[in-house]
């Protein structure tokens, strides 16, 4: 364990996500944290439009939010936070996300094995009971997230 592993889980998660350039470029924020559960939000910005006629938010914004939220839930589902790599991610786009709304994603890592984490996630705008997208994904654990500094420097 490193010193960072001893921080409360929500502080570890906020620290970890504060270092992700693409998440920061989109403005992704952490809202709720529990072991293996994560709720995140991305505020709407004009550049997120994917359909210039309807103004709907690009499916790719939802893909990124779901990937990041699901990966975070997988990373922090073990007692020592794990670095994970996405193996596969499948998303059903249930309805369009209208522009002007923040998009939320709640991910739950429902199974952790020695090497693999399984996660489900749903994304919504105004009503969690009416998701715009749902997903299932699997992640491979590739080592502790917060590594000790190597002796070589």
């Amino acid at each position: 364990m490193t010193e960072l592993d001893k921080l409360p889980r929500d502080e570890q998660i906020r620290l970890f996500f504060s270092r992700l350039p693409h998440g920061n470029a989109l403005g992704v924020e952490v809202l709720e944290v529990d072991k293996g559960m994560l709720l995140m939000r991305v505020p709407f910005q004009d550049f997120m439009v994917g359909n210039p006629v309807t103004g709907f938010i690009h499916g790719g914004v939802i893909t990124t939010l779901i990937d990041q939220t699901s990966g975070g839930a997988a990373s922090f589902a073990s007692d020592v936070a794990q670095q994970v790599a996405t193996l596969d991610l499948r998303i059903d786009h249930l309805s369009a996300a209208e522009s002007g709304h923040a998009v939320y994603a709640r991910a739950e890592c429902f199974k952790v094995t020695r090497y693999i984490c399984f996660v489900r996630c749903s994304a919504f705008t105004v009503d969690e009971q009416r998701p715009v997208a749902t997903s299932v994904s699997s992640f491979m654990k590739v080592g502790p997230l917060f590594r000790r500094r190597s002796k070589q420097g």
Binding site: M48, T64, Q68, D92
Partner: protein, 152 residues
């Protein structure tokens, strides 16, 4: 901007790939462009530090790669005029085979099956070596037929 299909048809006639891609704010944000090369539509996600998801490695964000693949598929269908309106993504399934490094990423799409209403598209991405696939995706898109537009 009502008829993006007409704009894209004109862009294709003029060989103006940038005009077609610039219709989409999120594609501009990610840094996607494309051109016809060797008889196929070749898409590129230009390297940008903003698309990094793992700053230690460093590696591109899996979501940025997914968004790139999804947009490549949409533009592939639009450019080939497979739909009278912008195709709507129904589902998207990505397999990540290796990390996307901090360099340009490329994609090609293949319409595996196009029915009356639904297209099944597969997408492959790679970086410096086309043999080393970074990710593959399979997606379904809802298409709009010309007759459907008249009915509306």
């Amino acid at each position: 901007m009502k008829d993006i299909v007409a704009i894209i048809r004109q862009a294709r006639a003029d060989g103006d790939y940038a005009r077609a891609m610039n219709l989409f704010p999120y594609a501009r944000f990610l840094g996607i462009d494309f051109r016809e090369e060797g008889g196929e539509l070749l898409f590129r996600l230009a390297y940008n530090e903003r698309n990094i998801g793992n700053p230690v490695m460093p590696a591109l964000h899996g979501g940025a790669i997914g968004a790139f693949m999804e947009h490549a598929a949409i533009m592939h269908l639009l450019w080939n005029m497979e739909s009278a309106m912008q195709p709507k993504v129904i589902d998207f399934s990505i397999d990540y085979l290796r990390p996307g490094l901090a360099e340009d990423t490329f994609a090609v799409c293949r319409v595996v099956r196009q029915g009356q209403r639904v297209a099944n598209v597969s997408v492959e991405t790679w970086q410096s070596n086309r043999e080393k696939i970074v990710a593959t995706a399979r997606a379904h898109f809802l298409l709009t037929r010309q007759e459907d537009l008249v009915e509306q």
